[in-house]
């Protein structure tokens, strides 16, 4: 036992309350309910979706879809080999072995050949990356920056990770994707050891915008500013597609990605296709989806079935399934492997590809990047892939879901959903 003066005791309590308040008011998620007016066509909403998320629509771009590891890694390695002046790369997951070594060696080789190579890896996502790989790259002259390294003075930032996946070559070619650098992402989504994912390769003025997203974290971590033609060349039109790039950097206020997601559901008129590995609908999303069905929109959502790397997220996602199913939302569980791609396709004319999951972690905490593409060709290609994936899916039915949805399962789902602010 110890005697302490009452004033000391009171001031400590007061300090705890005040600091606790400060922290809470800073970090708490501010609830908001997006009110989106009714529209006649989805297209009418697009400039607003871009504008509200701090982007503008850029004309004259080209896109290629890269499916799974087999479609992605060979293209990436080719671009690495072809770059002449600068390579900028950002990712969350980067482990060791197989493809991880291959990519690291490719970067190292180019750095030795005097190409400027900059790599941002999330410090948490790179936990499984062996120092051997880091040193290989650093020794070759690759500038490697760890995003938000684990440091006591940054304890308030540790929860915030970069989940962005970007690559930019010579400022002229950009990749936006969902793949991590790990063996799991190789192959063609054939089994549980080879996941399904999707990325895009872009040419045209939009590449400048992707470069500036890469630069944000680069400046923050290293202080180096990328100036000049090598990074931001004047880009001629390279195709017919209009695009807008989204980079979520939440912290206070309304998250751009959440806004984009909710606005696009609210504005869809005919068809809404969602593929996402982490889908946790909150009350508002649920009601926006129900309203979409009522308007006559065909809503199909594809989520992971038994193969998932995060059972908690899966369970939290179940929270509103019954309500959605009964309202006519079609939900499919992909059974062959983990579907990791984050795809939105609306009205056969707009698609969104990127790193953003449909959960609070992506909306409100992490840093994400994605691209909205306006074009029927790309939408049709992604839709064909969606329909192909449907063959490996089991459709959930309202009756069978409800009849099998036991008390115990419900309890787990609710418990997981309560954590959803962090998932």
């Amino acid at each position: 036992m110890i005697h302490i003066h009452l004033w000391l005791f009171i001031s400590m309590i007061a300090a705890i309350i005040l600091l606790g308040m400060m922290l809470w008011t800073n970090l708490r998620e501010r609830k908001f309910h997006v009110r989106v007016p009714d529209l006649d066509s989805f297209e009418e909403g697009l400039p607003s979706i871009a504008g509200m998320t701090k982007a503008i629509i850029l004309e004259g771009n080209r896109a290629e879809i890269l499916q799974n590891g087999d479609g992605f890694f060979p293209a990436l390695l080719e671009s690495i080999a072809a770059a002449r002046e600068t390579i900028n790369f950002e990712t969350y997951v980067w482990w060791t072995g197989g493809i991880c070594d291959e990519v690291a060696e490719a970067f190292a080789k180019r750095a030795r050949e005097r190409v400027e190579v900059r790599v941002t890896v999330d410090a948490m996502g790179a936990m499984k990356m062996k120092p051997r790989l880091r040193n290989l790259m650093k020794d070759a002259g690759v500038k490697l920056s760890l995003y938000h390294p684990i440091r006591i003075i940054d304890i308030g930032q540790l929860n915030k990770r970069t989940h962005r996946k970007l690559a930019i070559f010579d400022g002229k070619e950009a990749y936006i994707f969902g793949h991590g650098i790990s063996r799991k992402w190789t192959g063609h989504g054939q089994d549980e050891e080879h996941w399904r994912d999707t990325g895009v390769r872009l040419h045209g003025p939009v590449v400048n915008a992707v470069q500036s997203i890469f630069s944000q974290h680069w400046i923050e971590e290293t202080g180096e500013v990328l100036v000049g033609e090598r990074y931001f060349p004047h880009l001629e039109h390279a195709g017919e597609l209009r695009m807008h790039v989204l980079a979520g950097a939440p912290l206070g206020g309304v998250s751009d990605l959440e806004l984009m997601f909710k606005m696009s559901i609210a504005a869809a008129q005919k068809e809404l296709l969602i593929q996402n590995p982490y889908f946790i609908a909150d009350e508002e999303t649920t009601s926006l989806l129900k309203r979409a069905v009522k308007r006559g929109v065909d809503v199909k959502i594809m989520v992971p079935g038994k193969v998932t790397d995060s059972p908690i997220v899966n369970h939290a996602g179940h929270r509103h399934f019954s309500e959605m199913l009964n309202a006519g939302v079609k939900i499919f569980c992909f059974e062959r492997t983990l579907i990791h791609q984050k795809i939105l396709i609306i009205d056969g004319m707009w698609s969104h590809v990127g790193s953003t999951n449909l959960d609070s972690r992506s909306f409100d905490i992490n840093e994400e990047a994605g691209v909205g593409i306006i074009g029927e060709g790309i939408a049709a290609e992604l839709k064909a892939a969606f329909e192909d994936d449907l063959k490996a899916c089991e459709e959930m039915k309202a009756e069978s879901w409800d009849s099998k949805y036991h008390l115990w399962h419900r309890a787990i789902d609710r418990a997981c959903y309560m954590l959803s602010g962090q998932l």
Partner: protein, 442 residues
């Protein structure tokens, strides 16, 4: 509770009560101390300013850096805009009233200052009148900046149908946000015409900068594709405060080219990391090649900015800086700024104090090709705390026009020189140092 072995018993009842001791287990005390320290570290790591030492490489020509400057600060360069420079209240309010009168579908205004006076009444009545005629009118008002405003006027506007959102009003649950204000000054009409300016809605901003009661300020009126970007900036804080999403052609129309000016809109809302405005200032100063003109009412450069400016002079850039003289609305800011003057003067920076009235405009002009106009001051409050909005204009004519105005202002300035400056009174030096201690909040 037990009575302590006090040396001198406190006199008041409260004092006596507080001087008692409480008996607590060691573990509880350790836990309390731990909690205080832990929370303090947490809050500090969330809020502290991360020192950013921005390294900008050398470029041959300033124009080479422009795409980087625009892209890295949040907006690509958009071609095909028309720009009209609006000087002082006399140049600003009449066109503003005209555009209010002309608007057919919607009017958006975001501002920091809304005080009292005839002009506030006129603006409020003009906006209320439009709202009564079915035009959607939205105003984002900073809760602190409009604190002195006339509540009757706000009520009158609300009754007429104007939607007013107070930005970061004082609420206990938003304690940590209270220091973050919106200092942006923008107006958008039908999504087709935009204003970006430094003026507040107050009597001080009327007139022609003729005396201490009528301040000097500058804004621009924009038409063309850049207006979409200004609308997007307005939409950010609007959706934050009201959750209303602005959707459709009437807010974001497809905009045809209206002129020959290339423009980029820079808006910052600092939340950790390097703010867009800080990056822009540093990049622009680091890449200027011939001439750098800065006109700013609140100029408190940090060490890195001072170094960048000194380097510019060394490269052969003519650097001219105009700041307020005796007439200022914030003498603490003025003094804090003085802290670095000796160095700047010795390095060869020309510093002028504007004497006629408060020069409130925030202008940068570089190499006769690029001008930057808006709300952004040259201090930590603008660079690291508040929400700001300014527009970069790539055009020789606009740069020439602003430079001519700068040179006309020079005639009402006193130039500082290094010798006499170093001989300023001890008291003045003390004020400068003391004020500078607070610089992160100024």
């Amino acid at each position: 509770m037990s009575v302590p072995k006090a040396r001198k018993p406190p006199k008041t009842r409260l004092g006596r009560w507080l001087a008692q001791t409480a008996e607590l287990p060691y573990s509880a005390v350790i836990l309390l101390v731990f909690l205080v320290v832990f929370l303090f570290v947490m809050i500090w790591s969330v809020l502290h300013e991360r020192q950013s030492h921005v390294r900008v490489p050398d470029v041959g020509r300033f124009e080479e850096a422009l795409p980087s400057i625009a892209n890295l600060t949040g907006s690509p360069v958009l071609a095909g805009n028309a720009v009209q420079v609006l000087q002082n209240g006399d140049g600003f309010f009449p066109p503003l009233f005209e555009d209010i009168a002309r608007a057919r579908q919607n009017i958006h205004l975001e501002t920091y200052v809304w005080w009292k006076g005839e002009i506030c009444k006129r603006v409020a009545e003009a906006l209320a009148n439009k709202a009564r005629h079915g035009v959607e009118v939205r105003i984002t008002l900073d809760a602190t900046g409009s604190h002195r405003g006339d509540d009757d006027l706000f009520d009158m506007m609300k009754e007429a149908g104007v939607k007013i959102a107070l930005y970061h009003p004082f609420r206990l649950s938003d304690l940590a946000l209270l220091n973050n204000r919106t200092h942006r000054k923008i107006a958008i009409f039908d999504g087709k015409v935009a204003y970006v300016f430094g003026h507040g809605i107050a009597q001080e901003w009327t007139g022609n900068g003729q005396d201490a009661k009528h301040w000097r300020d500058t804004g621009v009126r924009l038409e063309g594709p850049i207006v979409n970007s200004v609308q997007a900036v307005f939409a950010q804080n609007w959706v934050d405060q009201t959750a209303e999403v602005l959707v459709g052609e009437k807010f974001f129309p497809r905009l045809a080219e209206k002129g020959a000016v290339r423009a980029h809109m820079t808006a910052s809302a600092p939340r950790g990391g390097v703010s867009e405005m800080e990056l822009l200032d540093k990049m622009a100063i680091a890449t200027a090649q011939k001439e750098l003109i800065i006109q700013n009412p609140y100029f408190i450069p940090d060490q890195e900015l001072v170094d960048l400016i000194a380097n510019a002079v060394k490269r052969g850039v003519r650097v001219r800086l105009m700041i307020p003289g005796q007439i200022t609305d914030s003498s603490i800011v003025r003094h804090a700024g003085h802290k670095q003057f000796q160095t700047l003067l010795e390095k060869g920076v020309e510093i002028y104090e504007f004497e006629r009235t408060l020069s409130h405009q925030k202008i940068m002009i570089i190499d006769d090709v690029w001008s930057f106009v808006g709300s952004t001051n040259f201090d930590d409050r603008s660079l690291d705390t508040n929400d700001e909005a300014s527009v970069g204009l790539i055009d020789r004519q606009v740069a020439d026009e602003l430079k001519a105005a700068f040179e006309a202002d020079l005639e009402h300035c006193k130039r500082l020189d290094a010798r006499t400056w170093s001989q300023r009174s001890l008291w003045h030096k003390f004020e400068d140092s003391a004020s500078y201690l607070l610089n992160e909040q100024l």
